[in-house]
Symmetry: C2
Subunit: 339 residues, 2 copies
Amino acid sequence: MRVAIVGATGAVGHELMQVLERSTLRFDELLLYASPRSAGTRLTFRGQELTVQVTPEGPIDADVILASAGGSVSKALAHQWIKGGGVVIDNSSAFRYDQDVPLVVPEVNGEAALKHQGIIANPNCTTAIAVVAVAPIHRKYGVRRMIVSTYQATSGAGQKGMDELVEQTRHVLDGQEATHEVFAHPIPFNVIPHIDSFQDNGYTKEEMKVVWETHKILGDDSVRVSCTAVRIPTLRTHSEAITLELERPATPEQIRELLAASAGVEVRDDPSGKLYPMPLTASGKYDVEVGRIRESLVFDGGIDLFVAGDQLLKGAALNAVQIAEYLQEHGALKERQRI
Amino acid sequence: MRVAIVGATGAVGHELMQVLERSTLRFDELLLYASPRSAGTRLTFRGQELTVQVTPEGPIDADVILASAGGSVSKALAHQWIKGGGVVIDNSSAFRYDQDVPLVVPEVNGEAALKHQGIIANPNCTTAIAVVAVAPIHRKYGVRRMIVSTYQATSGAGQKGMDELVEQTRHVLDGQEATHEVFAHPIPFNVIPHIDSFQDNGYTKEEMKVVWETHKILGDDSVRVSCTAVRIPTLRTHSEAITLELERPATPEQIRELLAASAGVEVRDDPSGKLYPMPLTASGKYDVEVGRIRESLVFDGGIDLFVAGDQLLKGAALNAVQIAEYLQEHGALKERQRI
């Protein structure tokens, strides 16, 4: 079996290769693609040097195509790529809201992936991280309202986002004024409540993605979801403060037990030992850290919690590879006629 | 009239001197006090060099005593200081929950200050900043539920907090591992959902201060308040994402108009012009910036907003001086027999 990565030289591409190295996915060849500017780059995978090639505008001769080259590239080319007989697992928002494209977090709605028609969408990072913790709670206690405030890392804007934070922080520490290209304002020692473009309702697209995608992944539009998405000066891992109103009251102890038994979650919740979710500990980790689990003060029987998840992993590369693993485990990677 | 600052050499003490320089408060002498370690320091006020003296353990010969030397010092000595006939405006949490001590944000409940019995408490910074925006909304539309997630600067832990952020960020950028003394974990490029000590209910004291103090300042225990208090790697200005359920529905436009006419608030809410509250613009500013005002997606007729306020100013020094100004304007600084 062949796997292809489109956007191999980006921040998510880098993580995709790392995750594939450790993956249980059985495949015997990896193809790497990127823009013409990055083509020719040599990258090492399982001890072998591979040369990055220019992203094809036609069919890709691979069974699984992990795409992370931005929405416009995917939108323009994904339907061509799958003419090679493979399935595209797309990290952009290009197809997430298409009715015939499953939006999948394997721990939550893996079975939806089996019904794909050539393209499967990987969710927005903030949503993927939240939903790993919230879905088990929704299943058992019924989430009525979900209020999310995010603490999002610069890597949400890719490698160039992280570079801007590091470089501009140096400037500020040297007594110079910070500039900005990637973010709407200087990011060092700042907080920017603006991620992606503003919509007519005053919410950003990033905030609305959390609403739309939570509904689609949970398969339940009746949950009332709101989000404030905020960029902060961290390198990787998104944190989120989440308040939940529940149909059926739950205690923090019940939620802790439930999440301890849930896939993709690490309960990290011992205030006396100073254990709670943090970018410092969640970065590089596959599981989403969940802690600060406590009784809501505004909803009787509701729950407050805090999550931290590496958005380059569960929020992107890891989730994409997990979808491929899920397909293979369920015999859904069909024998493909090589082109 | 004489004013005294106790804790003159700390971060808030520094801000108190700056704010007093620009204040309309009429006084002719300033006394500066600090711990024995800092006594002897010479500080300039209105072009004059003043020598910091050791904090008295008995009466202070001043009309207004602005105390910012920590809760234990205030608790032990404030009742001695006021034997000099002055009023203590205390920045610590030592007296905030005492029934006979008013907790005052002048724009909200200035009249409470007039009923003091020698001590007036300055609120927790996060609460002071939130309540400037929320109180006018509560008065007009009735806040039923208030859900707060904070983005708190290191200056909340004083000068040493800011120093730790700067110093440790340099270490990380130089490829070294960050250490920590002031904060529970390394703060550079990290997020720490832990400010002040944990309570039995799983909330931190910082979070419960927002609940208790919002109730006391609004004079209304029926508002259901919850908070997640989070330290992030910024230098000054606390930001807060706030979701409000209202008794009487309001539109974003109504809230914008209301807040534009409210004291202590700068409405900064033009997404198309990339204008919203941020530490970068709110730092050093007297008004609290309020923006991202939008219809709640979880409460019909409710409102979401984002605030940023300089917690060394409105959250501390400025509010204390404004209390003194309020007392003077209302003839409540009685002629004192000098000791």
